[in-house]
């Protein structure tokens, strides 16, 4: 029996201790403080004071419910669009016969994402602006007489979110389709299934783990998006991330910001639970 192995087994916990301590101080403790602050009252300058109150949660589900609903709605729609675009794209990439073509087509999805998120989002301001490229093109072609308002709308936020998170959908589905054995489709056909049936009964269930992972990876950052609505949404496309940010400025309200953060975390945890649950059910069947 290895001495090092035994030593590590015995001392493993002490090896893990510094990291655990770090994460406890800079990750767990801050979240606990947010939770506590979210129940406190707002003092002068937006700071948290006693006594405890539930009013911030009341507001989060009262006047601000519309923004909460918009955030979840936009994130859901982003997930659906990413799935509809990303699934066939992942399929296309993984069914290329030559390895080089497969690598290039995959690389073309990944490469744009080596650029900073801020800059990728900013690029849409050029395209969608009142005097932007799309309006310029449509005007010069005579398709429209007046520029269309696209920037600072929910539409712009949706486009930005889909653009920002599409690879998160493509990559896990690609990994699933790569593992898929296409002889199963032949088998389904031999057994009398048509294309639609073969897809729904064979291809889709077997690539489901990738689909579920992709949906979680797109939905979660979309719900908590801050940069995209900030640069593209204006006041009409305000999401919960921006609302939280506002509470930490000059005329802010730290306890309200904390309560909104907790609500957002709850949404994220709920979607993670749904993900874990559906993965389990998927494995069971």
């Amino acid at each position: 029996m290895a001495r090092l192995g035994r030593r590590l087994q015995q001392n493993g916990f002490f090896l893990a201790l510094p990291t655990i301590a770090w994460l406890f101080v800079f990750f767990v403790l801050p979240l606990v403080i947010v939770l506590v602050v979210s129940f406190m009252s707002r003092g002068r300058g937006g700071v948290a004071i006693m006594p405890f109150t539930l009013q911030h949660y009341e507001r989060a589900f009262g006047v601000f419910f519309i923004i909460l609903r918009r955030s979840i709605g936009l994130a859901g729609l982003t997930t659906v669009i990413c799935l509809l675009v990303g699934y066939p794209l992942a399929f296309f990439i993984s069914t290329r016969r030559r390895r080089l073509v497969r690598q290039i087509t995959l690389f073309l999805v990944i490469l744009p994402f080596w650029t900073n998120f801020l800059i990728r989002t900013y690029a849409w301001r050029i395209l969608l602006g009142e005097q932007g490229t799309i309006n310029g093109l449509l005007l010069s072609l005579g398709l429209i007489d007046e520029p269309i308002t696209m920037l600072n709308t929910q539409f712009a936020v949706l486009v930005g979110l889909v653009y920002g998170f599409l690879p998160f959908m493509v990559l896990p589905i690609f990994a699933s389709v790569e593992r898929f054995n296409f002889r199963y489709v032949d088998a389904a056909h031999d057994l009398g299934a048509n294309d639609i049936r073969a897809f729904l009964r064979v291809v889709l269930p077997l690539t489901m783990p990738g689909v579920l992972a992709g949906c979680a990876l797109v939905f979660i950052p979309s719900v908590g998006a801050f940069v995209t609505p900030d640069l593209l949404g204006g006041t009409k496309g305000l999401m919960i991330g921006n609302l939280i940010n506002k509470q930490f400025g000059g005329s802010g309200n730290m306890p309200l910001g904390s309560a909104l953060s907790i609500v957002m975390m709850a949404v994220v945890m709920l979607s993670l639970l749904v993900y874990v649950f559906s993965i389990r059910r998927d494995r069971g069947s």
Binding site: A2, R3, A16, F26, F27, L137, L272
Partner: protein, 294 residues
């Protein structure tokens, strides 16, 4: 088979539609992925200030950056931008060093150690990866404020956020990524190699540095490069934990992008895009080489 004729025709239509769709989808998707980037680059060379139509080629916006002209924004200076870049490198290096050590340690402990509560630690490592950046940013901002307020109350001295808060925040989100990458490497490694080293008379310390560490080194390097990239790229968490005079490059760029669309901003963005693509390309090449060597 007269009865099936309708069904077969329908099947053929479905198949044809599917084939058209499978060809159309990648075209549209790749156009969608690449058009914004190409438009950004194109208009950084446009001779007029407009982004509505391309009127001719020029390099003057790149010249303007060097001469500290930023269109509508006068506060821009190349000096400030380079300073922000230096700040980014500083924060990135220190955060990477700390998180690589901490991440590797916990990866080793999780792979080889036997102690209770491993599931809980797994959750603790997994959470920073999945919770939205804004929540982590806000919680750290509040945490530092509370701690500094207390400190001022006790010692009478005021501490302000700065490099130390940014670095602490970056280490926190980097640990998980380093640990994930290093653990993947450890999982591939045969623990008997350590046993063999022991049987040959190496003490545990020597066995670790001569056998285990060289074998997991590619994983540690990949983890460190990933941490460095994430650190250089991070905006949201840095934005909420930085203080006066500790602006990193993404925070600086955000200040520019928030204003208006100007050809100078397009030029700066193009330069940053080329640089970050090169940087990631190089780091992936290093990873590829160090992975293939073992």
């Amino acid at each position: 088979m007269l009865i099936n004729e309708g069904a077969m025709r329908r099947n053929r239509t479905v198949r044809r539609l599917g084939q058209v769709g499978l060809w159309l989808n990648p075209l549209v998707a790749y156009f969608f992925l690449w058009a914004p980037i190409l438009v950004l680059v194109l208009f950084s060379f446009n001779s007029s200030r407009s982004v509505a139509s391309f009127t001719g080629f020029t390099l003057k916006w790149y010249g303007n950056i060097l001469n500290n002209v930023m269109g509508a924004e006068s506060a821009f200076s190349t000096e400030l931008m380079l300073n922000a870049f230096r700040n980014s490198l500083f924060v990135g290096s220190i955060a990477t060093a700390i998180s690589t050590v901490l991440g590797t340690m916990i990866a080793l402990a999780m792979a080889r150690g036997k102690f209770p509560g491993k599931g809980l630690i797994d959750g603790l490592l997994f959470l920073p990866v999945v919770i939205p950046e804004i929540t982590q940013a806000i919680s750290l901002a509040i945490f530092f404020k509370v701690v500094f307020d207390w400190f001022a109350l006790i010692s009478g001295e005021r501490v302000f956020p700065g490099f130390h808060t940014i670095i602490a925040a970056h280490v926190t989100f980097n640990i998980s990524y380093v640990a994930i990458v290093a653990r993947a490497r450890l999982a591939d490694m045969n623990p008997r190699l350590e046993e063999a080293a022991n049987d040959l008379g190496a003490n545990p310390w020597r066995a670790f540095w001569r056998v285990t560490f060289p074998l997991i080194l590619p994983g540690v390097i990949s983890g460190a490069l990933l941490a460095f990239t994430l650190s250089l790229d991070d905006f949201v968490i840095t934005f909420f934990t930085s203080g006066v005079g500790t602006t990193t490059l993404p925070v600086f760029v955000y200040g520019l992008l928030k204003l208006t669309v100007t050809p100078e901003v397009n030029a700066v963005s193009t330069i940053m895009m080329v640089l970050s693509t090169l940087l990631i390309g190089i780091s992936l090449a290093i990873q590829g080489r160090s992975a293939s060597r073992v």
